[in-house]
Amino acid sequence: MIKGILNNYEEAVAVILFVAGLGMLLFRRNLIMKLIGMNIMDTGCFLFLASMGYISGRKAPILTALPAQGTDYVNPVPAGLVLTGIVVSVSVTAVMLSLSVRLYRRYHTLDIDAIYALSKHKLEDR
């Protein structure tokens, strides 16, 4: 068991990161904390993905001299996916931060439960 974890330590760390992030996203009441949690969760996914594409002893998939052999390089697909994922994650974070700013300006707190309590009666009645 322990040997298995040590052999796959990237995956183990990825799982820890994902669960920690998920917990923060779910249970923290502060919006910024929730956002940080989301970023940690995504980082866990990216680590998992990047570690799958890595093959020890091989180089980054950049052609320097021809002829090149496919067996010299690591798998480039996961790296591409991680890049795309990071872009997505950054844009989501930006949108969420701007919404948080708007909420803070109106309610002067970032505690989601407190904000909800402040606006509860208005939500029900219109």
């Binding site: 994902f18 992030g21 998920l22 996203l25 779910l26 919006l31 929730k34 989301m38 969760m41 995504d42 996914c45 998992f48 993905l49 799958m52 697909v77 996961p78 996916l81 795309t84 994922g85 997505v88 844009s91 989501v92 949108v95 969420m96 919404l99 948080s100 708007r102 909420l103 109106r106 309610y107 989601i112 904000i115 909800y116 606006s119 208005k122 939500l123 029900e124 009645d125 219109r126």
Partner: protein, 505 residues
């Protein structure tokens, strides 16, 4: 390759180009450009539908000419084309029907940005419908989430911002889990394209390694289930649909959640394949959650005091029907799930564009006690609302009836008495509950006000919205006709869905 095969990609790109252009032009021009884009998308989707029904086989569009294990693909079959056609048609109606309210609810200088978001939403929705690659699916799931968050927050009040934040938190949870699912699927199969992944999964299943597959699928299902409002995660719906501008609410309830469900169905049927999927325990979990949603959504809807919140909770119940259909499985089950996607899109968008008109003659209030008699004051809105409500209840000739009928037939075709009895019981309970709150509302909007003096005051419209503009009439009439078409000529669309399913895998 025929020229028609370019249309899926062109429709996605066209929406993106028009999305960028909308940021640069005036709100009026943006509205026209959006309308033109939607019409073009509808035309292209219809052309693809006609083409695929004619040839009877799907086509694969390879982006950048990189062949299967590496490249990125779009895939067009009759089912995708039917969904794209229906979605774009309903979208046109949502935009037309709610545009008077966009003028009021959205800040004047930012109205073109609202249409930017509508275009972005359309491109993401079309991409989810057409894509044949799981990671592309994930990217567009996020784009769809971001643009729909913008549609909620476009009306700048405290509660819409709060609703948008809650919506985003739930959705980020969902997309995080879906991303994990995609990554696990890549670890499992070594592919992101759906067809090669399916081949790998067939081998894995033949060797008996189903546990990782079930875990991966469960993670994906929870992710997309949260995003589409599957029981028990539908509690974000009422705030979201209840407080945003009518166009936003109509689009979100009728289209966005369906995009996620269609992607999920694609993963079940194309990546996993029906022959493996039907033996997995996951489908029964979906069926049970669907049934729970059908009852719980309706029960919470009965308790709502606000007409939009009631309609939102009823969405949770209707989404339950879709998942129940997927859970029952087999051609009959998938057909009823897909048919329900169309029916709910047509009906719920009509509800959300008519309720503000009822509120407009009731002192801008959506509360039931204020809405008493509003159907008499805004006659057209009353008629349209009644049509949508009758369809929701399942009165014959309307589309909702066909759904319930087909659901019963698909449960009977499954051939297990216990399943049939369970589905019929839940269907019965759900119909009675639906009737309780929708018929109650219809009676209420045609009732006399208790206090005659109030009638005098309430009959004056607030004057902010023209009581019935031509675009609103057109959109509502099209949606009612669409509903009647799905109800009276159900076999036409059901045959198309069956044909599409046969070339879906």
């Amino acid at each position: 390759m025929d020229f028609v095969c370019n249309f899926p990609l062109l429709s996605i790109l066209l929406c993106m180009i028009s999305c960028v252009l909308c940021t640069l032009i005036s709100p009026k021009q943006a509205r026209r450009l959006t309308f033109g884009t939607e019409i073009a998308v509808l035309a292209m989707s219809t052309a693809v539908l006609a083409f695929t029904l004619n040839t009877g086989k799907p086509f694969t569009y390879v982006l950048g000419e990189f062949p299967a294990p590496w490249g990125n693909e779009l895939r067009g079959g009759a089912l995708e084309a039917l969904m794209a056609t229906a979605f774009s048609a309903v979208l046109i109606c949502c935009v037309l029907g709610g545009q008077d309210y966009v003028r009021i609810d959205v800040d004047g200088s930012k109205q073109n940005l609202f249409y930017t978001l509508v275009n972005l939403m359309t491109s993401a929705l079309m991409a989810l419908v057409w894509t044949n690659d799981m990671f592309t699916g994930y990217v567009f799931v996020e784009i769809l989430t971001l643009s729909s968050c913008g549609l909620i927050a476009a009306r700048e009040t405290g509660r819409t911002t709060l609703a948008a934040v809650r919506y985003m938190v739930m959705n980020l949870l969902g997309s995080g889990l879906f991303l994990l699912g995609v990554v696990l699927m890549y670890a499992l199969t070594g592919h992101l394209l759906m067809v090669p992944a399916h081949e790998a999964i067939t081998e894995i299943a033949a060797e008996g390694g189903k546990v990782p597959l079930i875990f991966t699928l469960a993670v994906m299902t929870i992710g997309l289930g949260i995003k589409s409002g599957l029981f028990p995660s539908y509690f974000w719906m009422p705030d979201t649909y209840g407080s945003s501008t009518p166009t936003g609410a109509a689009i979100l309830s009728s289209l966005v959640s369906k995009g996620y469900i269609f992607l999920l169905l694609k993963i079940f049927l194309r990546v996993v394949g029906d022959e493996i999927w039907k033996d997995l325990p996951l489908r029964w979990v979906l069926a049970v959650l669907g049934m729970a949603g059908m009852v719980a959504g309706s029960v919470t809807a009965i308790r709502a005091r606000n007409i939009n919140r009631m309609a939102a909770y009823s969405s949770a119940a209707q989404i339950g029907y879709i998942y129940l259909g997927i859970g029952i499985g087999g051609t009959a089950g998938y057909t009823v799930a897909l048919f329900q996607i169309l029916v709910h899109a047509v009906t719920k968008s009509l509800l959300f564009i008519t309720t503000p008109r009822l509120a407009a003659v009731s002192g801008e209030s959506l509360l039931f006690e204020k809405l008493r008699g509003s159907g008499k004051r805004a006659k057209n809105a009353g008629v349209f609302f009644t049509a949508a409500a009758l369809s929701m209840v399942g009165i014959p000739f309307f589309a909702g009836f066909s759904v319930k009928l087909f659901m019963a037939v698909s449960a009977a075709e499954y051939g297990n008495p216990a399943v049939f009895a369970g589905v019929m019981a839940v269907l019965g309970i759900s119909s009675v509950l639906n009737a309780m709150y929708f018929i109650r509302t219809v009676v209420l909007i045609y009732a006399d006000r208790k206090d005659p003096a109030e009638t005098e005051a309430g009959s004056v419209t607030s004057g902010k919205v023209p009581c019935g503009s031509a675009t609103y009439y057109a959109a509502s009439v099209i949606l009612v006709l669409g509903n009647l078409f799905l109800g009276l000529f159900a076999p036409v669309s059901v045959n198309m869905i069956r044909q599409g399913l046969s070339m879906f895998q």
